[in-house]
Amino acid sequence: MTEPSVEQLLRHAAPKVLSALVRRHGYFDLAEDCVQEALFAASVQWATDGVPDDPEGWLVRVANRRLIDQRRSEQARRHRELRVAELEPADQLVVTGADTRPDSGRDDTLALLFLCCHPDLPPASGIALTLRAVGGLTTAQIARAFLVPEATMAQRISRAKQRIRGAGLTFTMPPPDQIEDRLRAVLRVLYLIFNEGYTASVGTDLQRIELADEAVRLTRQVYALRPDHGEVTGLLALMLLTDARRAARGGPDGELIPLAQQDRSRWNGAYIREGTALIESALDNAPIGPYQIQAAIAAVHDEAKKAEDTDWPQIVELYKLLNRISPSPVVTLNYAVAVAMAQSALAGLEVLESLEDDSRIRDHHRYHAVRGHLLDMAGDRCGAVKCYRKAAQATTSVPEQRYLDAEIARLTRETADCDGSPRAAG
């Protein structure tokens, strides 16, 4: 193993340092800013002076000093008539010896995640705050990852902090009866971060790919704290089993390569082994949940050496289960594909009929794309072209649109007099 880089070291330390500060002083908002400043100071100073013996202690000391300075000047502003010393009983708490370091006996990362992923925060704010406060990323890095200006991202972070302050949310573990809901909110944010990074892994710049790695890293931290929790394990497994295909998912020109056509030798075997082991242990030991089922589906795909070897009947059963515990039109769409593969295209199309009147999905490009795919499988090329055209007109993703256009071109080449109009398809 190589030595961790300074950046890795800093980002690993970030949540611990922040927790130590918030435990000591409160003032999450201010503490978070001070930790960012300390991280920046470290990145500059350690590059020339080398990493100190106790990096976390160093960061706590620097962040602590900033926090006290800022509190002092703030208080001085507010109460100019009084002497600072009289105002600042917290001073007694801040006599910091050289041995200052985060409370190593406990890991407050989870409490920090509960705060940053609070269900009262808008998702975009929770995501941004989590990446900064727990992930130790700078606002500029997060802004680049989400392709927005730094000022926009700074606003999202400051808004999240305002809400935390305004709602009086505190840095404590939620009461036992709320833990499950709050943990679900944390997993949701981590899942959104992963998805943002993973979907960006085709056809766009490498800057953004980091988000998938970051989501995996943060989810590993949660897993280390709650290895017994089925859905935590399930989400980590789902990320690994999905991310395992990342390299095979995009072609040299940024084109999207569907699962069936991916070069499976490019899949990440280590991730597949780890993800499979995780999901097997979760399914054996924990109550079932949506992340676990999705991970199990991903594992079935990943264990097939060739696309033709895929155990579709098992995937059908897993989607049935998923539709029972967490029904959604997207699950039904995937279920239809699995039924088509396990039984027949017509059987899959029959499943799709249940979505025809579902306003949540019938105008969505994914519905038309799946229908087109199943019609193509059923031999109705003109019908397929018609659906693919609808999908191509409805998607906002450039790689997806290119993929659909390529499918339309292939089908119209193979079928001379099919122009996709209702007349030709009839």
């Binding site: 808008p122 998702p123 975009a124 704010s125 941004a128 989400f146 392709l147 927005v148 200006p149 926009t152 991202m153 700074a154 606003q155 999202r156 972070i157 808004r159 998805n195 943002e196 993973y198 979907t199 960006a200 892994s201 085709v202 056809g203 766009t204 953004r208 999905t242 998912r249 995009g250 940024g254 999207l256 699962l259 999705q294 997207v330 995937n334 994914r366 998607t395 906002t396 993703s397 450039v398 790689p399 997806e400 649109q401």
Partner: protein, 129 residues
């Protein structure tokens, strides 16, 4: 998801914000619209939804360029000859097109001409599931 809110307008004289320069608007109304606009901008700035905003110069300064058989053809004036012209645009990053449309409705310009909500294409692929 990012959207372009395209502001179309036909002001008396081309100055920004264009809603201030519409015919038949009293000073009181003008002040109210300005306040509405300021509040809107403040809200989407604070929420981290505003990505950018760009006012456009008068349509008279526009050049439209076409390349035909004769080579490059440049004409003065905008491509579409309409009374209402694109006056500027805002890029917002928000939860849904419904939210983007709700924001569009709060631009005072929406009552004189229209504000168009256009989703911006994403270079990312959609999720695999």
């Amino acid at each position: 998801m990012k959207y372009m809110l395209a502001i179309y307008s036909n002001p008396l004289n081309w100055a920004h914000p264009t809603f201030r320069h519409q015919a038949g608007v009293s000073d009181t109304e003008r002040a109210m619209m300005q306040e509405q606009f300021d509040r809107l901008l403040e809200e989407i700035t604070d929420s981290g939804e505003l990505v950018s905003g760009t006012p456009l110069a008068p349509p008279g300064l526009t050049r439209t360029v076409r390349v035909g058989d004769q080579g490059v053809e440049t004409t003065d004036g905008p491509f579409a000859e309409m009374k209402e012209q694109l006056a500027g645009y805002f890029i917002v990053d928000c939860e849904s097109i419904e939210r983007a449309a709700a924001l569009a409705a709060r631009f005072p310009d929406a009552r004189f001409a229209a504000v168009e909500v256009r989703p911006i294409m994403d270079l990312s692929a959609g999720a695999e599931m």
